[in-house]
Symmetry: C2
Subunit: 364 residues, 2 copies
């Protein structure tokens, strides 16, 4: 096997497919990039058994072949080659020689047969999604994905394509995040994408262009024309989230997001990572009081604040509320309360682009 190609293109491809490579594995091949040189094309793949990234770049292929090279070492070598073109040749004993100008590197590769096969996904039902929309919906819901595996289906986000709408839902048992966007596809489908996959794909694809999604049973692929990403899907039933959304409200607060957020931020100073204390939140007589007492000290922020409906006093986890408010991408929001033990609902003042729900905590 022997090929030459542009150093920058190869380095960029290596850096990107390395996102799917495991840094430490008992199976050495999984720490490497699969390099396949055939028909004037060079294909590079990283695969961690659940998630893979593949891309093709132009190369001058003298001898076709396949090899697996340690991801970190190979990427760094290519980066450090001082010439525009880098040449890679592999001998019968899998010794790889990477050269350019005055520099020569030699490392031992792994036969491509030891690299596990990446599953393929073929489906006639294709979803085309602008990357900007995809990234926006993920960025504003992923914080609510569960980090523990008590309910595996909650370790990813539900993607629901129905009635000309894409709805993305994340939930972790204490809060819930919903984002909605009009999207016409001629069929209905839904699946749960692992949070790790969502983070990697949105980071790799950015906001330019469109991605093509194929999903079949437990597998999904994303393709932006340059990179193909494969991932397993999470199997099982997601929360019936529609049932959890409160229909009524006893108290309605319309407020600048920034105002509520800065009040919470100031008062949260008394909460440390090791000491979780709830925020005491009171709406009464045209006043909003945000307060927190902990062993560190006391903090309070009191502001004039008209609201509609009953007075209310409740407690909530400051971090959950701050996450939800930060994810609101509008200035004016409405916050709906239905008594001190009913979920708090945060929505835009106009429209229904997002809905965040935070469970209150019982306070004395």
């Amino acid at each position: 096997m022997k090929f030459s190609c542009n150093k920058e293109s190869l380095a960029q491809a290596c850096v990107n497919v390395s996102r799917a490579v495991i840094s430490k594995s008992t199976l050495g091949a999984l720490e490497g990039i699969l390099i396949q040189a055939h028909d004037g094309k060079l294909s590079l793949s990283g695969y961690d058994l659940e998630f893979s990234i593949t891309t093709c770049i132009d190369a001058q292929i003298e001898v076709p072949g396949e090899i697996v090279l340690n991801s970190r070492l190979f990427t760094d070598m290519v980066k450090k080659i001082p010439t525009e073109t880098v040449t890679v040749s592999i001998d019968d004993k899998h010794l790889a020689n990477v050269t350019g100008g005055s520099v020569s590197y030699t490392i031992l590769g792994t036969p491509s047969e030891e690299f596990p096969e990446i599953p393929t996904v073929e489906s006639d039902d294709i979803i085309r999604l602008p990357n900007a929309v995809f990234k926006d919906m993920v960025d504003h819901t992923i914080f609510a994905v569960s980090l523990n595996d008590v309910r595996p289906t909650h370790m990813g986000s539900l993607f629901e394509f129905k009635n000309g709408l894409l709805t993305v839902v994340s939930v972790d048992g204490y809060r819930l995040a919903i984002r909605r966007e009009p999207l016409n596809i001629p069929f209905e489908t839904s699946f749960i994408i692992p949070a790790k996959t969502l983070k990697e794909v949105t980071a790799l694809f950015g906001e330019e262009g469109t991605c093509e999604i194929h999903a079949v049973k437990r597998r999904i692929t994303f393709d932006n024309g340059t990179y193909t990403v494969y991932s397993r899907l999470i199997d099982g039933d997601f929360l019936e989230y529609e049932d959890t959304l409160p229909k009524n409200e006893k108290t309605l607060l319309k407020i600048e997001k920034r105002e509520l957020l800065s009040g919470l931020d100031r008062v949260s100073l008394m909460i440390s990572d090791r000491m979780k204390y709830p925020i005491h939140f009171t709406l009464n007589e045209m006043t909003m009081e945000i307060r927190c007492d902990t062993p560190l000290g006391k903090a309070s922020d009191v502001n004039y604040c008209p609201f509609e409906g009953e007075s209310i006093r409740l407690g909530f986890n400051s971090g959950y509320m701050i996450d939800a408010l930060r994810a609101c991408d509008c200035d004016k929001i409405k916050v709906r309360f239905n008594g001190p033990l009913s979920p708090i609902v945060i929505e835009p003042e106009e429209g229904n682009k997002f809905l965040y729900l935070v469970l209150p905590v019982r306070i004395k």
Copy 2:
């Protein structure tokens, strides 16, 4: 005790004196900032028993007094106050109330009697040093300070004021760094400043203005007009560094610093933190070869390179050589070799502003 002052000035002063505050201590007062309000001035100090920072800011003092407040909490509170002015009042029970606008914080302070006294240093021999020179000399020698306490005097840098010259020297047993700068003071003196102090003072003082140094026996103060920094000095005899500098050379290499550095950088790829292997360096027949063989693989960089004197082949620690080269602030350097077991000397091609010395390692 009660005072009001500008929020930004107070926040800035807190952030800076906090550099001398210990984050975790069995003596609670050491986790705090000493605040002293007297005669229309507010003084703030942090002190970790070896090092202190003190500054004064303007304040409107209603009731004079002293208190120690937790550094992290107090700094964050002041930062989060939404108004231009912040008011701090302390009651008889050392409860501190920090307020501004809608926000009110209450934390428990510590009586100032529990704060250890910061030593004073008084000397008629004053050294005035431009901060830019001070920072430059520290930045380019501090990498060679010893990190282990086998020889405590090597855990700081020697400052030697002699013959119209300031010489700064750091050494760790494997390499040595010298920086020289003309500086006229009417007396001779030398002392060893702990590396931590040098880092903190240069970071705090930056490159503007001048600092005034008083050093007496084991104590030193630095004053830039806004901040006063106290530190202990390291006691003991520093290496007689003049004796360690090779007088002769068998091989002389004049080279662009960048060229040598990039060759070393490329070849060092085969060295990881866990596996220390020496670089093999050869000058022979107008050629410079930099090579490294490790269990990860082989790397070599071979370039045309004229030199003066004998051919040479030796080994050295790549990290030590790279540190020294990075610290050279000129493009053209000369490297002097005196056989494979004699220290390698790196100097500017012109002048004697700096001298770096790296010990070679024995290779097969």
